[in-house]
């Protein structure tokens, strides 16, 4: 895998992806990282070091909550779950992201003179 294909995520983008991932169901930190990687077909790669600060930031903001539970291999893991405000935040941020992505795409597609 060339380093080019592993894009580092922009701040804020990571938050959005975490929220989206959790919208599909509760998950622990490692699982979130794996899922983002899988869903992006290995293009987006979560810097694991920034994952946990982000999770705690979102928790502090009240968008997600954490509780301990058993993992798929039956070990104690910390599972994160989307809250009501987190769902609202996800909707707002998705909208914002789509607007922005669209705008960036339009700029890039513009014919050069």
């Amino acid at each position: 895998m060339s380093s080019r294909s592993r894009l580092d995520l922009l701040q804020g983008t990571l938050d959005l992806l975490i929220l989206k991932t959790l919208a599909l169901g509760a998950m622990h930190g490692w699982g979130i990282a794996q899922r983002i990687q899988q869903m992006s077909e290995d293009v987006l790669r979560v810097n694991q070091g920034s994952l946990y600060p982000a999770l705690h930031r979102l928790e502090a903001a009240g968008w997600i909550v954490a509780e301990w539970g058993a993992s798929e291999n039956n070990r104690q893991a910390k599972f994160y779950r989307l809250t009501k405000t987190g769902q609202r935040q996800l909707r707002e941020e998705t909208e914002l992201w789509e607007q922005m992505a669209g705008a960036v795409a339009r700029v890039l597609k513009a014919e050069t003179i």
Binding site: W30, Q34, G49, E59, G62, T85
Partner: protein, 884 residues
């Protein structure tokens, strides 16, 4: 509750639980990641390494997580505290030295501050203390500040001052209190009946005086002070209603005061004005006389009255006195009246000294700070690797500085705790010392205010000395890790900082040492002063006959003549005398104006003044005062003979070189004349540091004074005279109290105790400063030597002698001492000026003190360097070079 808030709250509550959770979470992550790689076919160890590498700098990430919690400062603090205490425990030598050094500095400041707080800062413990002023009359032109107020003037002030709601009087008299056992001569405050109400002092037992106590023929009553009640009656609560004989009248105790400071004098008990025979006599003369200026006056301002207006009113009333009675308030007096603050007057003599002491201890603390900063800097050199490691693991520079400051604060607070112990154990000693300067020492205590002060000083101290190592913590990580702890790129900068600190320490120590040196030189000179008499083997005692029994000069004279006769018959007595003033016992000089027959004076105020004393025939012999010309007093100088006097050399100077023996002087405008029959040597009667003033002695049998002091010169141990005097007095009259039985050496020692203690106190602080500074120098030089081991090895290999290496190291130390000395001398000159009023025969720039301090410091500095220097010479060149 807002989720953010709950989160924070939760974080705050279980900060450490969350840390553990985070660890578990991260561990889980790494395990999952490792398993993933193992499933992909990697070997477990390699998989784990890869997982760890993927995660990145773990501590840094954890730190970032902690910071998102928003309460991390508190956790940092607890973490830093734990870490700080741990590292300090790991270097107990450094910690102990720092804590003791700081503790002594903080402790000295705490002790002095607790005294300042109790003496100068706390409001007077009188309910009306804030509205109370003194009304004082002064005659500056004849050098009589606060000479008192007469009864007549008191009544005028009462009638004319509008801003006051109460004007009360005080004067002190000594009376004989007769009770079970030995008669007791008690210092008695004679006061207006509403005196305690005006001041706002409520008795703790019984009642205060009431107006009817002052009525003609009212039963005589007494109020005891707390101290007298405790010492003489053991705090007996049954004292109220007890009757004592005083001035040949029964006096009933009606109250006991709380322990409050008293102004202007500490007395044993109080009586209302009507009970004092002297006050009554003055009262009878009110109509025809504006003198004597017997009493001190307190005024209680009306609520809301301005002190400035009150002062102006007082000044105006006094100006009217001057206008209406020009013969009493002559222009030559410079008479005027003013108000004064009671607390300021009560503590006037202590204020300056206490502030000097606080300045001194402040400087000691600065030195202690510099020293600990230096120790910490030296320690930093060894900690470079540790700090670099932490920095590499993700600790930011701010985090490191915070860590270092926390360590400093831990040290400072521990030092503060030690300092409190030190202050607590020394404050009683200090209180005894301060009692010499003010009677307000009862409220000195290590109270919450003092504790706050100590905490503040500790924190400021910690920040002060903690800043230096923190500033020096800028670390070149790679270099520090590579160099194996032997010092890093900014070593040179740190050395400069250390040298600067040492120079500053030396300079400040020099200031203190010169101050102490000046006081010691001055004390030595004061102790060597010839007092003009020979105090050895002479005992003195106060023997006052109860004046109701011995009402006039004739009666007291008979008493004293009988006493002298008995004393001289006793075995072991060489000679005995009676006088009205024992030299150096704290009396103030009198100022009688006299004229010499045959001379004219422009005005009465142009006449010279003299201090008149009473001397029995063997007075000069007993005290060992040399007779220079003429003769001494004899039995023939009695009441019916011609008035005679003996003068001292200082008075003889008024005759401008002509022999005064045989000439006549008068004290009453030439109505009566006395002949000078002899000249004796000058005596430093009023203080070893005071130039002798003109004195004239009158024979006991001609003097109109109540004498009251017996002197006995013994062949051997003067303490034997105690019983001799007691037996002699009581064989004449068992009701006469014998007070202040002291040898003249004791009296001289008491006089010297104040300057001696002042010098001692400052010397202790200066010695502390010197000690701390010298250990600082040794430390810095030793460190420099150990860092230059290779250099010294090389030098020795190239042929440098031991002597030259020794010289190099000592020279380095002396350079520091020399620079500090020069700087310090300038500061010392300024400090010495503050001490000026405490110096005798010594100018603030006394070369002796400066020279002693310089020599002492250079010697001490050289000695401090010798140990490390010796180590430098014992470096084996081969070992040193190989170590590179």
């Amino acid at each position: 509750m807002h989720p953010r808030f709950t989160h924070r709250f939760k974080a705050l509550r279980d900060g450490f639980a969350m840390d553990r959770e985070l660890d578990a979470e991260v561990r889980f992550h790494i395990e999952m990641e490792t398993e993933k790689y193992v499933r992909q076919g990697m070997d477990p160890a390699a998989a784990r390494t890869k997982a760890l590498r993927n995660f990145g700098p773990m501590e840094k990430h954890k730190e970032e997580v902690r910071e998102t919690r928003g309460v991390s400062w508190l956790e940092h603090l607890t973490q830093d505290l734990k870490y700080g205490v741990r590292t300090l425990i790991k270097s107990p030598g450094f910690a102990l030295l720092a804590i003791v050094t700081l503790g002594l500095g903080i402790g000295a400041n705490t002790a002095i501050f607790s005294v300042i707080n109790g003496v100068l800062l706390k409001p007077l413990p009188y309910d009306n203390g804030d509205r109370l002023v003194l009304i004082q009359q002064t005659a500056p032109l004849i050098n009589r500040p606060n000479f008192g107020v007469s009864i007549n003037e008191l009544y005028d002030y009462r009638a004319q001052l509008a801003s006051f709601e109460g004007i009360v009087e005080f004067h002190q008299m000594n009376f004989d209190l007769l009770r079970r056992g030995e008669p007791d001569r008690v210092a008695t405050g004679v006061v207006s009946p509403n005196f305690f109400d005006a001041l706002g002092i409520k008795p703790i037992l019984g009642r205060a005086f009431v107006d009817t106590d002052d009525d003609e023929g009212a039963p005589a009553v007494l109020i005891l002070t707390h101290a007298y009640w405790q010492t003489k009656f053991g705090g007996d609560r049954g004292i109220i209603g007890q009757v004592f004989q005083m001035n040949d009248r029964p006096h009933t105790v009606v109250g006991v005061l709380p322990p409050v400071p008293q102004y202007p004098n500490e007395v044993d008990l109080y009586m209302p004005t009507s009970a004092c025979p002297f006050r009554a006599a003055a009262e009878r003369q009110v109509a025809q006389n504006r003198r004597p200026f017997l009493v001190q006056v307190f005024g209680l301002l009306k609520r809301g009255a301005s002190p400035a207006t009150a002062a102006a009113e007082v000044a105006t009333v006094a100006a009217h006195f001057k206008r209406d009675y020009p013969d009493v308030y002559r222009p030559a007096l410079g008479f005027h009246a003013q108000t004064a603050n009671v607390l300021e007057q009560l503590t006037a003599r202590a204020r300056e000294l206490l502030l000097i002491l606080l300045g001194t201890t402040g400087l000691v603390l600065l030195i202690a700070c510099a020293n600990v900063a230096n120790l910490a800097l030296a320690r930093m050199l060894r900690r470079d690797r540790e700090l670099a490691m932490r920095s590499a693991l993700g600790a930011g520079r701010g985090r490191l500085v915070r860590q270092l400051l926390t360590e400093s604060l831990v040290l400072a607070v521990a030092g503060g705790a030690f300092g409190l112990l030190f202050a607590w154990s020394t404050v009683d000693m200090l209180t005894k010392f301060v009692e010499r300067f003010t009677s307000r020492t009862g409220e000195i205590d290590i109270d919450p205010g003092v504790l706050v002060f100590t905490l503040l000083v500790s924190v400021v101290t910690g920040v002060l000395f903690g800043t230096f190592p923190a500033l020096a913590s800028r670390i070149d990580v790679a270099n520090a890790l590579k160099s194996g702890g032997k010092g890093t790129s900014n070593t040179a900068g740190r050395h400069r900082l250390q040298s600067a600190l040492i120079i500053a320490q030396v300079a400040v120590s020099v200031v203190l040492l010169v101050g102490a040196g000046l006081l010691l030189v001055s004390l030595y000179r004061l102790q060597s002063v010839d007092p003009g008499f020979k105090p050895e083997r002479v005992m003195s005692a106060e023997v006052f006959g109860n004046f109701t029994k011995y009402p006039d000069a004739l009666a007291t004279r008979t008493l004293y003549l009988r006493l002298l006769e008995r004393l001289e018959r006793a075995s072991g007595v060489i000679s005995a005398a009676v006088t009205n003033a024992v030299p150096l016992s704290g009396l103030q000089p009198g100022q009688a104006r006299f004229q010499i027959r045959g001379r004219t004076y422009d005005t009465p105020d142009a006449r010279p003044t003299v201090d008149v004393r009473v001397a029995s025939t063997k007075y000069f012999e007993t005290l060992g005062i040399p007779l220079l010309r003429g003769r001494s007093f004899t039995e023939l100088d009695h009441e019916n003979a011609k008035n005679v006097g003996i003068i001292n050399e200082a008075m003889a100077r008024h005759w401008d070189g002509v022999d005064p023996v045989g000439s006549e002087v008068s004290f009453d405008d030439g109505e009566t004349w006395g002949t000078i029959v002899g000249v004796v040597g000058d005596v430093k009667a009023f203080g070893l540091d005071r130039e002798p003033i003109a004195q004239l002695y009158r024979p006991l049998r001609q003097g109109g004074h109540i004498a009251g002091r017996a002197l006995v010169r013994m062949t051997g141990d003067p303490s034997a005279a105690t019983t001799i005097i007691r037996d002699a007095v009581h064989s004449i009259d068992p009701d006469i109290p014998i007070e202040n039985v002291r040898t003249l050496d004791e009296i001289r020692d008491r006089y010297l105790a104040t300057p001696r203690l002042t010098a001692l106190l400052l010397s202790v602080f200066a010695g502390l400063a010197l000690l701390v500074t010298i250990t600082g120098i040794t430390g810095v030089i030793a460190q420099s030597v150990s860092q230059r081991t290779q250099e010294f090895g090389l030098r020795m290999a190239l042929g440098a002698t031991q002597k030259s290496v020794l010289g190099m190291v000592v020279g380095q130390g002396l350079w520091l001492v020399g620079s500090g000395l020069l700087l310090g001398m300038a500061g010392a000159a300024a400090f010495a000026r503050v001490l000026k009023s405490y110096l005798y025969g010594t100018t603030p720039t006394d070369p002796m003190a400066f020279a002693i301090v310089s020599i002492a410091f250079v010697t001490a500095g050289a000695l401090a360097c010798l140990g490390p220097a010796w180590r430098a010479t014992t470096v084996d060149p081969m070992t040193a070079l190989r170590a590179e």
